[in-house]
């Protein structure tokens, strides 16, 4: 009980401190979650505390992970009428984006002959972290590896995404928003929002639709791909 109070309060306080820092120096590199993960990991390693103890102490926080996925229904509902004319397009884009990301990650894993557990952790990296964790868990992957990779991909997308899209000749803010929402989840969506309000609306819709597509399609695709190579 004391462990739980301590684990949760340390995590929460650290998160809010990092959020304040992030607001002062607005930069995706200073991602609060990334900083918290690095700092807490370092503390656990230095003080020789087992990860299992920390995980058990923070179960109340992890409990909300699944609740947060359910809560995504609200923004989807709120944005539906604004994006309805583009719904098919956004679904098609998400499907193509998610499938190609999973396929490429799978090919890279084969190329580097990674273990099945590691491959399973790299299949659902372009969606919002709770979905990644749920998919990774269902494929028996390593959630810790998946979580850090997802956040790093979001940070990279937030920093370089818009320039890459401009280089590739994508000019409409709506298209940039869809791409950032599909490929770089919440951190990309935040970058899209700063870029243009329309880009932000399309990015958040694309992010949630991708979450739904990933959770239902990626496990099937991974099983199919594994069937092909074995």
């Amino acid at each position: 009980m004391i462990n739980m109070l301590l684990g949760c309060s340390v995590t929460l306080v650290l998160f809010f401190v990092m959020r304040r820092l992030n607001h002062r120096w607005r930069s995706p590199v200073l991602n609060p979650v990334l900083l918290c993960i690095v700092l807490i990991s370092a503390c656990l390693l230095i003080s020789d505390i087992d990860y299992i103890d920390y995980r058990n102490a923070t179960t109340p926080i992890s409990f909300f992970l699944e609740i947060a996925v359910v809560a995504l229904a609200l923004p989807l509902y709120q944005q539906l009428h604004a994006i309805r004319p583009y719904l098919v397009l956004i679904c098609a884009c998400s499907f193509v984006g998610i499938s190609s990301a999973t396929l490429l990650a799978f090919l890279l894993c084969q190329l580097f002959s990674a273990s099945t557990a590691l491959s399973a952790s790299l299949m659902a990296l372009s969606v919002t972290t709770p979905i990644t964790l749920i998919v990774t868990d269902s494929l028996n992957g390593l959630p810790g590896v998946a979580a850090i990779m997802v956040i790093l991909i979001g940070v990279l997308g937030g920093v370089f995404g818009l320039s890459l899209l401009s280089l590739a000749g994508v000019t409409q803010p709506q298209a940039k928003g869809i791409a950032l929402g599909v490929a770089c989840h919440a951190i990309g969506t935040a970058a899209a929002m700063e870029h243009h309000p329309a880009a932000g609306a399309f990015a958040s819709a694309a992010m949630i639709i991708s979450a739904v597509i990933t959770a239902s399609w990626v496990p099937v695709l991974f099983t199919l791909l594994q069937g092909i190579i074995s």
């Binding site: 979650v33 995980r55 609200l74 989807l76 956040i151 790093l152 991909i153 770089c184």
Partner: protein, 118 residues
């Protein structure tokens, strides 16, 4: 006091959807993740008007705004796999660069085929 009650009531809707989804996935042995089914269920309830978005705001607002904090415990799990990370550094770096780049380019190109009205 009212605020606390509203928060609890709206959280109860979310938990209710999640539990209903858990029951359904267990009963029908669905391979769909339960939280996703919960999302779909809540979305349908919102669409048909059983649940109003005002009911959900007190809990959904802060949960979505601070969602990132919920990933921290899972993320710290990487300390159990430091060896794996070190051994596969090149794979991880290539995934980190190539996967989002391909995703952004393909979706961006495809999405720019659309006609958008401002």
């Amino acid at each position: 006091m009212m605020i606390a009650l509203r928060f609890i009531a709206s959280l109860a809707i979310l938990i209710g959807c999640l539990w209903a989804a858990r029951l359904a996935t267990a009963a029908f042995a669905l391979s769909l993740p339960a939280p996703l089914l919960g999302l779909v269920l809540l979305f349908i309830l919102l669409q048909i008007g059983t649940v109003k978005s005002e009911y959900l705001l007190p809990s959904c607002g802060p949960i979505l705004k601070y969602m990132a904090v919920f990933f921290i415990p899972a993320g710290v799990g990487l300390i159990s796999y430091l060896d794996t990370l070190g051994e596969n550094a090149w794979l991880l770096v290539s995934v980190l660069i190539l996967v989002p780049a391909l995703g952004l380019l393909l979706t961006g190109k495809l999405a720019s085929k659309g006609r958008y009205y401002d």
